[in-house]
Amino acid sequence: MSKVVYKVEDDVSTDIIYPGRYMATVLPTETPQFAFADDDAFNGKLKAGEIPAGSFIVAGQNFGCGSSREQAASCLKGHEVTIVAKHFARIFLQNGINLGLPMVICPDVEADEGDELALEGNVLKNVTKGTEFAVTALPPARQAIIDAGGLIAFTRARLLKEQG
């Protein structure tokens, strides 16, 4: 069980998650400092280490729309937060899967900042409000990448099978 530390609207773009002016920074070890860089309050808490690992960010529809910049996924992965969204934009979802960012697709989710959430199988419980919501499972083809530990490991295994 962990708290919702940040709630955002529909259509949060990768420019909001990781502003374009920081795109010269690419390494996953360096991107977390710029997560939600234009929101001084939340970015400040992230950088100060005030957001515990496993905390939830709750979003609406189409989270991560816009550019293909992988920094938007790697900067969140670096803070070990879980993203719950009603739906994700395609490229962001794939980038998150490839990097092993915890993401939950929950079309009906209702939660506010401060609520305690618990993920139990295919159900997301809002413990604070006493409500629960169905989670949409990832298609097996995408889940297979997560199960392999991300796309790097998945691809390495494939290469070894094909060429090794």
Partner: protein
Amino acid sequence: MGMTYVQKVLAKACGKDSVAVGDVVEPKVDLAMSHENGALVMTQFQEIYKGTTLEPNVWNPDNIAIIFDHRVPAESAKTATNQKRLRGFVGDQKIGKFHDVRGDEGGICHQILPEMGYVRPGTVVVGTDSHTTTHGALGAFAFGIGATEMAAVWALGKVLNVEVPGTIRVVVNGQFQELVGAKDLILNLIGKITAEGGNFKVLEFHGEAIKNMPTSGRLVVSNMSVEAGATAGMMPPDEETLRYLKEEAGVDESFELMAPDADAEYDRVVEINASELAPQIACPHRVDNIKPIDEVLGTHVDQIVIGSCTNGRLDDIEIAASILKGKKVDRSTRMLIFPASWRIYRRAMREGYLADLADAGAVICNPGCGPCLGVHQGALGDKEVALATTNRNFKGRMGNPMAEVHLCSPAVAAASAMTGTITDPRGVR
């Protein structure tokens, strides 16, 4: 049951007779493009080989394109160092399609790929840039991917675990009014189906307004298909595609012109009458916040930008020059022109368009992505308002979250430069 156009292309790329929506496939990649973020692809690519005895060599160097465009010439030591590392990789791996910071062959990736003849109808193109959808205009299945996914493509030559997407059929009939065109069409469509209306789907374009549209316009429509969330924006190839490839891209080959089956099944059909379209404006801070120009006429703008992978082509610059020749950019605003490639820059220079625009007061910048995503030149001040022919108006997009960006066609941008306010181009010439 018949197949949509993307199903046809994917079936061919997988060596199958047919594929169905939802099938998981691993299509062969014909062209894999990266820009400066190739530096991250390179890092991830090398990571794949760690702990193995395999040599980290790309699957086929001739099918990889690397084009420096996002921050050219380098705006910082960090970018310059990343570009230097990539040059080393390009040399070591003998990457075939490399476009460095050069006035003869440089430019924005989504202009370089078509104008160099790198994109062919019926092929699979991936790029580490969301606007890779652009190349659907030439009949390719072209889509954006992340850097790690590209690293896997460099290793294997195919994209893993692709779900065959459903398709929205977009039929555009009628004839555009003068100085209304491709940009107004795609903005109108995004407003209709919203920023997530095409998520995980392909837009497939048909109708007489598409048939009569030159490839330069089709590239605009496919480019911004991603702003409706679409995986790709595809135009089944036709005579115009062949003309462009031969006359403008120097490709002297014959192609099999695939087409969707008559009984293909679509998720949805959207019809638009081009004759009824007014110039369209995407208002802050969403690309689907579309208004016909009448509703925003007179809005003051501090900066006007013509350029980007969306609208920095020769005919865009020509329209702007034809409107601004002998006129002045109003002193209440400023105007920047970023041609999409150096080939376009040089042609616009020879035709006199750049001189006409500079005489009017516009600043001519070098081809690149810079101001569109706020990484290099053209940043906005606090509370400033921009009007741009670029593709996104998200908060913070032009380098400042305290500023606003409106999106429009080149004709609207040029007409508005004369007044410093959003101005209808119809009738100004």
